[in-house]
């Protein structure tokens, strides 16, 4: 619309080339890293199907996937390993991408669905269903999704001050609500019947154990709808990263974009949590790892989702096979996440961001 290029300042072709070269090399790095991550996720998916008490040959695994009945293998792979693998892949992706959106939009590496209280709301509702109502897995899942959405809505409403929405306030309110939910969970665990406690604990830790095929469609469909939608808003998200004022002056309608992205991220986190429980640290680690690998100039939602999937799948394989006892994936990812959290706290403290 406004072309002022032909006026008195002439641009040297060298500068254009220099900028283009930089962009191309960063683009190559993005493609390379994303490709490697996708390959890694694929390899881990394959390992999830191949490994177990019995190791079936690749031929049998492919045959089962193609729908053939093979005695033993059909049950082990079709009923146990495949749902487990799909849950890990999609929940990991959902946690990763949702964490990345929160962190980028709030410009705070500590922001993630945990801090925002979504997972604690979901967890409190799920524990209530398991311990007090003794309801079925399906009911527990639905209740946890609804509770997650309601909790985040509550936090959003409480963090809207008189003047405007504030990110810092949202994080603080989120931490407060999280503490309330956690105390409720502790109370429920204390009064609960002993035979219900293992289910509740497994749910709270985050685990792929016992995921059934019929639970998965909601998660998969949600991912297939929301992930492309999020990718369409990658560029406005990158502008939001520059702050409210810059984004507005670049022509981003900040309020609708922010609401749309937050709702997508919240739904993804809530649905994934309903199926696997809150797998610790994944939403928190995936974004920073992806950014570190890819560089910050590009939109990193897809790499962040892939890192999330890789973390969950690798964590689950480690939990299943690395030790004599079997651990749920949430314990493994929690162990990976804790040192990073400490590192981050030290770094932020040193920079004076608190």
């Amino acid at each position: 619309m406004i072309m002022k290029i032909t006026l008195s300042h002439t641009i040297t072709a060298e500068t254009v080339e220099w900028i283009r070269a930089g962009r191309i090399s960063r683009r190559r790095r993005w493609l390379l890293v994303t490709g490697i991550l996708a390959f890694l996720a694929f390899a881990l998916c394959a390992a999830m199907l191949l490994l177990g008490n019995t190791i079936y040959p690749v031929r049998d695994v492919l045959a089962v996937l193609a729908g053939e009945e093979i005695k033993g293998a059909s049950f082990a792979i079709g009923t146990i390993r495949l749902p487990r693998m799909l849950a890990g892949l999609f929940a990991g992706f959902a946690f990763g991408i949702s964490g990345y959106i929160f962190q980028t939009m709030m410009r705070n590496p500590l922001a993630n669905p945990n801090v925002i209280g979504i997972t604690s709301g979901s967890s409190a509702a799920a524990v209530f269903c398991i311990i007090i109502l003794e309801s079925s897995r399906t009911v527990t899942s639905i209740a946890s999704v609804i509770a997650g959405l309601v909790t985040s809505l509550l936090i959003y409403v409480l963090s809207r001050g008189k003047a405007s929405f504030s990110i810092g306030r949202m994080i603080l309110v989120g931490i407060g609500i999280q503490a309330m939910c956690n105390s409720m969970i502790t109370y429920l665990m204390l009064v609960g019947e002993e035979h219900n406690l293992p289910a509740a604990v497994r749910w709270l830790t985050g685990s792929l154990n016992g995921v059934r095929m019929d639970e998965l469609p909601s998660l998969i469909v949600t991912c297939l709808i929301l992930v492309p939608l999020i990718c369409m808003f990658n560029r406005p998200l990158m502008m939001l990263e520059l702050g409210e004022q810059t984004a507005t002056s670049l022509g981003v309608k900040t309020d609708p974009v922010r609401v749309l992205l937050i709702i997508s991220a919240v739904i993804l986190a809530a649905i994934a949590t309903a199926i696997t429980g809150p797998i610790a640290s994944v939403a928190f680690l995936a974004g920073p790892i992806a950014v570190r690998l890819v560089g910050i100039g590009a939109a990193n939602s897809i790499p962040a989702g892939l890192v999330g999937a890789v973390l969950v799948l690798a964590g689950d394989l480690i939990g299943q096979f690395a030790f004599t006892a079997k651990f749920p994936v949430g314990i493994i990812t929690g162990i990976i996440g804790a040192p990073y959290l400490l590192f981050l706290l030290v770094k932020l403290n040193r920079r004076g961001d608190f």
Binding site: H9, G251, G295
Partner: protein
């Protein structure tokens, strides 16, 4: 060479926060293709005025008109191709390269997928050459000094190629050398491309030197406007800052220069000054 002209007006603007109004019925017209500076004491509403003009703050009543159209009715990307803003403390994503950051200024010109056209590359190259940061293109912005960073931010606003550019205290926190450098570069921009520049500056003497036109704000009201040599008087300085002063002629620029009078070190004689104040 003729520049693209725009009329940019504010009509009876009232703006502020729920319990506290900051702008009190301000009407003005920004002179096209010139450098305007908004001056005033701390917390007088000058920054709020700038943000309301640059559509960051929605006015409670009144409206801002670009070429006669209310700006909130213009599609946001289309508006962003005419109107740019450099905020006072822009937020830097950690680890971003200079070229990528400047490139983000192209957002309103690009499609959803953000593919870079020839114009995008040329606009970014031009902006970086004007701001003299070409060498820094592939450096991380966290490695740069304050002055360099400010040049990168202005380059980003330049890459946006808007006819009107708002700047909220672009020289704050900079050494005097860089203040002059930035103001010279903005003047280049105005002279070469006819960019209409509207900024808030803290330093009254630099304002008087670099502005073609001044707007003086006190307690949310526009109390004077005009060319610096017409507007700046010791009475106006008393009105906006509550400070006694005498006005001399800046020997370098011939613009008015404010010499403050405190309680100490008053030894010379105070020359009397003329000048008209256009009081509203």
């Amino acid at each position: 060479m003729s520049f693209r002209k725009h009329t940019f007006q504010a009509k009876d603007l009232v703006a502020g926060y729920a319990d506290r109004m900051i702008l009190d019925h301000i009407s003005l017209e920004i002179p096209s293709n010139q450098i305007s500076v908004i001056i005033g004491a701390n917390a007088c509403g000058k920054s709020t005025l700038l943000k309301t003009l640059a559509r960051i703050i929605k006015p409670v009543s009144g409206e801002v008109l670009l070429d006669g159209q209310p700006i909130h009715k213009i599609p946001s990307k289309q508006l962003a191709r005419v109107l740019g803003l450099l905020p006072q403390s822009p937020i830097v994503p950690e680890g971003i390269t200079v070229a990528d950051l400047v490139g983000r200024g192209r957002y309103p010109h690009q499609s959803m997928f953000g593919t870079w056209s020839k114009q995008d590359y040329e606009a970014v190259a031009q902006a970086m050459e004007i701001m003299n940061i070409t060498d820094l293109a592939n450096r991380h912005i966290d490695e740069l000094s304050g002055g360099q960073r400010q040049r990168v931010w202005i380059a980003m606003a330049l890459a946006q190629q808007t006819d009107i550019l708002f700047l909220d205290e672009p020289t704050t926190y900079l050494d005097i050398t860089y203040q002059i450098e930035i103001l010279d570069m903005l003047t280049d921009l105005n002279r070469q491309f006819g960019t209409t520049i509207v900024m808030v500056l803290h330093d009254i003497n630099l304002s008087a030197r670099y502005a073609d036109y001044l707007f003086a704000v006190r307690q949310g009201k526009l109390i004077a406007e005009g060319r610096p040599s017409d507007v700046i008087t010791s009475q106006l300085i008393k009105d906006i800052f509550g400070l006694d002063s005498t006005i001399i002629q800046d020997p370098i620029s011939n613009s008015p220069s404010v010499v403050p009078i405190g309680r100490y070190h008053v030894n010379g004689t105070i020359p009397t000054t003329g000048g008209k104040v256009h009081v509203r």
